[in-house]
Symmetry: C2
Subunit: 342 residues, 2 copies
Amino acid sequence: MARTPASRGTRAATLSDVARLAGVSVATASKALNGRNHVHAQTRERVLEAAAQLSFSPNSLARGLLAGRTGTVGLLTSDLVGRFSLPILMGAEDAFGAGQVSVFLCDARGDAIRERHHVQALLSRRVDGLIVVGSSTDPRPPLADAVDVPVVYAYAPSEAPEDLSIVPDNVNAGRMAVEHLIACGRTRIAHISGDRQYSAARDRAAGAQAALEAAGLALVGEVAYGAWEEGWGRAAAGMLLDREPGVDAVLCGSDQVARGVLDTLRERGRRVPEDVAVMGFDNWDVLATGARPQLTSVDMNLEELGRAAARALFEAIDAEHGRGVHTVQCRVVVRGSTASAG
Amino acid sequence: MARTPASRGTRAATLSDVARLAGVSVATASKALNGRNHVHAQTRERVLEAAAQLSFSPNSLARGLLAGRTGTVGLLTSDLVGRFSLPILMGAEDAFGAGQVSVFLCDARGDAIRERHHVQALLSRRVDGLIVVGSSTDPRPPLADAVDVPVVYAYAPSEAPEDLSIVPDNVNAGRMAVEHLIACGRTRIAHISGDRQYSAARDRAAGAQAALEAAGLALVGEVAYGAWEEGWGRAAAGMLLDREPGVDAVLCGSDQVARGVLDTLRERGRRVPEDVAVMGFDNWDVLATGARPQLTSVDMNLEELGRAAARALFEAIDAEHGRGVHTVQCRVVVRGSTASAG
DNA sequence: AAAGAGTCCGAAAACCTTTTCGGTCATTGC
DNA sequence: GCAATGACCGAAAAGGTTTTCGGACTCTTT
């Protein structure tokens, strides 16, 4: 006999089946399985045994329908392929997965139409909350639809100030980077960054310059904005060495840029870190640990950001909705490219 | 008044609300909204209007409870952080998202206990099917629990031959790579690969050697197994040049290894591709396009693999369950590192 | 004008679980 | 022995949707 969908295995056991096998009513079975009041120990034992025998698993749909809560949340990303969504997603999944919450994953591909479609689908599935993950740290418009569940924006803050957003602290990241270079004894520090259109680039530069001023120093040359690519790093490093041969540290806007800078320094015969220290941002493992020497980088703690977003959503579901933009701190991961100058 | 969870917004509108506003019964409202038989056009219009006014969105829980189908699937990955799960996940999400299916994402972190926990949770949510994504192409044990919904294994095949698995064709990938190098006029081809423990490394090497034999050639030296790291590529390339100075092409086990090989070739004064052609596997964009010259690489079409897994799951849900291991073809992405030797 | 056909709508059951409330039984104290 | 109490169990409703079936109404045909 062909295995049609209807006949695939025996239909999952229901509470009625368990109750019948245990010789009790469904009400008693429910109470026994949920550890509720006033069930005789012996009866409970019978019910548990029956449930195990039928490998009973309560239907979450029915439960959710009744309770008005589903124990699910939606994770709406606009750019799954990107480097930054993933760790955030990991952290969120981590924080939720520890409890009883399951995560719906949706990728809007940066398309507003698709985003609305996904939001509608999630609402129809009665998610308890929503996390919206952006693909850059630039603010994004809030969700188009009116949603009656809590929403937390992660990485990219919402443009609406009354929304709750959790973002990395790029300004402080720039500050910490420069402070590390200064602690390594560097004083002639240049900054080769990525695309100026990105607030991440501007914020990091602002933080870096603030730290320099605080130390009574100034940047060597201007901030060199360009692209988030190795090729830009190579080219910009060449120009920098031509114009400012005395530079003793290069802070790079990303690890990709830093890889390019390292290449050019090597070719020009500058030793790293003895002659010039190099730092990146993002702590992208494959780039940072494959470099020669291994690359010191600022980690944005994205996984922690994801966990923070999940926690914030929990709180918003259970009680009051938080507001405004919160930041997650970053940290410097020290590797060979910034060993202290003897 | 404090906004308690109960008072957050007005409770979502139900079909009864719509029916009442339209002045019809819930049955009629349901039929009108679902385009069913025998509803007067004018009545339907009234219902649609009422639904729009209340921004009614049908409760998927109730629908799923009744239909026995939820329109959800579980995506169980063992290694979300890894490079390979993500595109597969993208492709699957893509194929599902086009329809009416939502995806539950779970990361088991490579832990069997956690995996069982997630499977139980997914079954309790009555998913219609399951995709299990491995973190390497080595076979993995099948799911521990008996599941009464279709399961498709992606990337890592199941050890059980009666399960349905969809994997990249690594043997053919190796073959295609060597054929490309031969087409570029190379005859003295060496192979520097990654960790021998991985079947991906062994399969690619086997395919490469088969293609060489078919062309009446032989590998220069032995296959150099090592680690999936740039450092190994640099070291192995050094040894290779010492032992086999006449080599005119290096096939690398991954793009990371290839980056290391490129570095050493440059330092030894070998021009790429004029003197030595270099190829990688994986087509990891950030590594391949950042290299000098840009790196020719074999793309495993992982996103297509994810789509194929989703399609296979669709079929298994609707009808008969397929069996055995299916492969997805890969393709060579040509860049500067293998330009034809004049 | 009556019968038949066709069109449209509504009542009710089904899906599965949880919770409330009432009922049964035994036990205990007087 | 009787009433009160407590322990345990079961009936029923609720949650929102879809579907089936029967009923009511209208229009056409003879």
